[in-house]
């Protein structure tokens, strides 16, 4: 018994420790993900989690990172509850306690700012799949890389689209109305719309923020009707997008076009609850299921079978982020944070599995922004198969055989 206790137990313990050390070191790439898994943005966090898991499953099944001896991706999720101080605490924990090699997140721009600052301090690379605020890549950080387009690009493309439509259909647009949720996101968009409208020679006849939690938006709709705009630009979350669309139809407000900004208008529940009222709506998004890219349809079908809904632009960003990391790690051939960072900075990922985005390649500029990230405009219409979202702009991406409806016919 003495021998057993003196020799066998320590030996076992040592082999266990050594074993776990060896496997922990040579096999796994730990990716920490800070996203809102509970709280007000939980559904979006859950989509991001599902998309990451699907990508990692594929990457691991295909043999992991070959340059690291087949290292597998291991995802660690942390809940931010959409609160900045929780995000910071989780970033500290993931870096110090979980010893993650890379971080990703955080969807809410308000959580992403202070959290990326933590990663910058420790020199841990931080991939931001989607958090649109311009400021995130304007902080001068070296470790931050963003996949999604930033919000100044969204508004820029909305106005470019409007100009193109005016030209294509020979309809003049003069009067614009801005109606947006009064949070970080809506206010950021509205600020840029104002500048773009001035530069484009448009007249702004209404500038109206409203709280997303409102249960009655008829006062806002009355204001829109009185202001008689040609085009209405919107930024809305889920419930208010539905409410606005239905109220606009109730009051029979006449407009040449409505241009929305994704978010609530791109939510899977939107078309189900607005039906015909949403017909002819234009919406700008990062990704649409009818995108003409190899593998996109398969990825969407797989996701839909697994999680019961279509991929959204935000889920696609999270999905692509995992493949961008795989590509960078393959080239870095090391788990050293600085080597990974350098490899990420040199990214030029144009093909291969996972590249299901509408643009040609993922490539980061000096600030860490994906310089190719681009957006598409869709129109909600019925081509005989029920209402659906049809890609119409840029013209090169337009669905074959579809002519956009502009201006909107009076219903």
């Amino acid at each position: 018994m003495q021998i057993l206790r003196r020799i066998v137990v320590p030996a076992l313990a040592i082999s266990l420790i050594a074993g776990s050390y060896a496997t922990g070191h040579a096999e796994n790439v730990k990716i920490g993900n800070i996203i809102p898994l509970s709280g007000p943005s939980a559904t979006l966090g859950q989509q991001g989690k599902a998309a990451r898991e699907m990508a990692v499953e594929e990457i691991n099944a295909a043999g992991g990172i070959k340059s690291l001896g087949g290292a597998k991706f291991e995802l660690v999720f942390a809940d931010s509850e959409s609160k900045p101080e929780k995000g910071v605490a989780e970033a500290e924990r993931l870096i110090n306690t979980e010893k993650v090699n890379v971080l990703t997140g955080c969807w809410n721009s308000a959580v992403t700012y202070p959290t990326t600052a933590v990663a910058e301090r420790y020199g841990i690379p931080f991939v931001v799949p989607v958090s649109v605020s311009d400021k995130i890549t304007d902080q001068g950080f070296k470790t931050v890389f963003r996949i999604a387009a930033k919000d100044s690009w969204w508004t820029r493309d909305q106005f470019a689209f409007l100009k193109d439509m005016e030209k294509e259909f020979g309809t003049k647009v003069e009067r614009l109305a801005f109606v947006y949720e009064n949070g970080d996101w809506g206010k950021g968009f509205a600020g840029q719309w104002k500048k773009l409208a001035e530069a484009g020679g448009y007249k702004v006849v209404l500038d109206e923020p409203y709280p997303s939690t409102a249960t009655d938006l008829s006062p806002v709709v009355q204001k829109i009707r009185r202001a008689k705009p040609d085009v209405l630009l919107l930024v809305s979350n889920a419930a208010d997008a539905i409410l606005l669309t239905n109220t606009l139809a109730d009051y029979k407000v006449k407009l040449k076009a409505i241009i929305a900004s994704g978010g609530g208008h791109a939510d899977p529940s939107f078309l189900k609850t607005t039906g015909k009222n949403a017909q002819y709506l234009f919406d700008i998004v990062e990704w649409e299921t009818d995108v003409n890219k190899p593998g996109a349809k398969e990825a969407n079908d797989k996701y839909k079978a697994k999680y019961g809904q279509n991929l959204t632009g935000e889920a696609v960003d999270a999905y692509v982020a995992m493949y961008v990391l795989k590509d960078a790690l393959e080239r870095a051939a090391s788990l050293d944070p600085e080597k990974i960072r350098e490899a990420l900075a040199a990214t030029n990922l144009s093909s291969g599995p996972g590249m299901i985005v509408g643009y040609d390649s993922v490539k980061f500029d000096k600030t860490g922004q994906n310089e190719n990230a681009s957006l598409v405009m869709v129109q909600v219409n019925d081509t005989g198969k029920g209402l659906e979202r049809i890609t119409i702009w840029p013209k090169s991406a337009r669905r074959a055989g579809y002519t956009p409806v502009f201006p909107m016919p009076n219903k």
């Binding site: 939980a42 999720f77 942390a78 809940d79 900045p84 989780e90 306690t97 600052a117 301090r121 009064n182």
Partner: protein, 334 residues
């Protein structure tokens, strides 16, 4: 050794442990959790001056945290004034706000007072969310303010490591606890206590209850605003939804209710229990069972409220006294 001596030894031991903890705990993660624990203990102790001693239930203290955080941050970002000075300016502004809220609302009873303070704090949040500038001061609406971590140092209230923050908030906590102790033994403390329990009887005896409550409110709002500056410097980013939120106001009240309102140790005990429950359940269940930590948090709250409606402070004090009695009895018996 008699009862008083043991108390002193225990107090010194607790202080030594608290000040020595960063020598043992090197992990930034756990220090971060501890800093937030002390931050909430400090906030709740400040709240306790009104919510505990004065016997009313204010549920809008996040507004004062916001005033403190915004004042020092704006002064620092726009005029380069050290946050230490901004902390005091914020305190003064919050005091004025506290008195302005207190004047009309202290006449209200029970739930009406609580609702009025919620309304004030929410109104304040909506205003901050919807304006970008007050005169020359940039508030930046819902996007909040970010403090660039460039000039690290004591003068700028900014540090690269967690230890300085740990000691600052610990000293603030000790100071506010001492202050509470002094007040509880002063005339003001007795006035507050009397006014909180039997306002009519107290007034009949010539106690100016309204004035005592206003003084307590003024002190409480000043101290709470100082915590706001601390928070801003600790996270280096503030925005209305995180700092003027109802969640924050409620969490302060929860900690006080769990620990024991109106006692000196209550807020600290409450923070010691609730903060780790929240943090560790989020760490362990946040991934696999999202939202689970909120359920656990709620469950602890319900259990304590049901079995110890006066807070954990009461049974723990009894336990502590029994323990000491046994020790003193043993030593004298020998």
């Amino acid at each position: 050794m008699n009862y008083k001596n043991i108390n002193k030894v225990a107090l010194v031991a607790i202080l030594l442990i608290a000040f020595g903890l960063p020598l043992v705990i090197r992990s930034a993660t756990y220090l971060h959790i501890l800093v937030l624990l002390f931050f909430y203990a400090y906030l709740t102790t400040s709240w306790n001056l009104v919510g505990g001693f004065a016997g009313v239930l204010p549920l809008g203290h996040a507004a004062f945290v916001g005033i403190g955080a915004y004042t020092s941050t704006i002064l620092f970002l726009q005029y380069g004034i050290s946050p230490w000075i901004g902390m005091l300016v914020g305190g003064v502004l919050a005091t004025i706000a506290g008195i302005l809220i207190g004047l009309p609302t202290f006449k209200m009873r029970g739930a009406y007072f609580a609702l009025a303070t919620i309304a004030f704090a929410e109104g304040f949040r909506v205003i901050v969310e919807n304006i970008d500038y007050i005169g020359p001061f940039k508030i930046n609406g819902p996007r909040g303010l970010q403090i660039p971590p460039l000039d690290i140092g004591l003068a700028n209230f900014m540090f690269a490591s967690k230890e300085p923050y740990y000691y600052i908030i610990l000293i603030m906590l000790v100071a506010v606890v001492v202050l509470t102790y002094v007040i509880s033994r002063s005339k003001l403390g007795y006035y507050l206590n009397a006014g909180g329990e039997e306002p009519e009887a107290a007034m009949a005896l010539g106690v100016n209850v309204a004035r005592a409550k206003l003084i307590a409110m003024a002190m409480s709002s000043f101290l709470t605003a100082m915590a706001g500056t601390f928070y801003a410097q600790f996270t280096l980013y503030i925005h209305p939804k995180s700092i003027i939120s109802l969640d924050l106001s409620f969490e302060i009240a929860f900690i006080a209710l769990i620990g024991g309102r109106g006692s000196i140790a209550g807020p600290i005990l409450g923070a010691l229990l609730l903060r780790p429950v929240g943090d560790f359940s989020r760490i362990y269940f946040g991934d696999t069972l999202p939202g689970m930590h909120l359920i656990i948090f709620g469950l602890v709250l319900i259990l304590v409220m049901h079995y110890q409606p006066r807070g954990l402070q009461e049974p723990l004090t009894r336990l502590y006294n029994n323990l000491i009695r046994r020790i003193t009895h043993n030593t004298t018996g020998r």
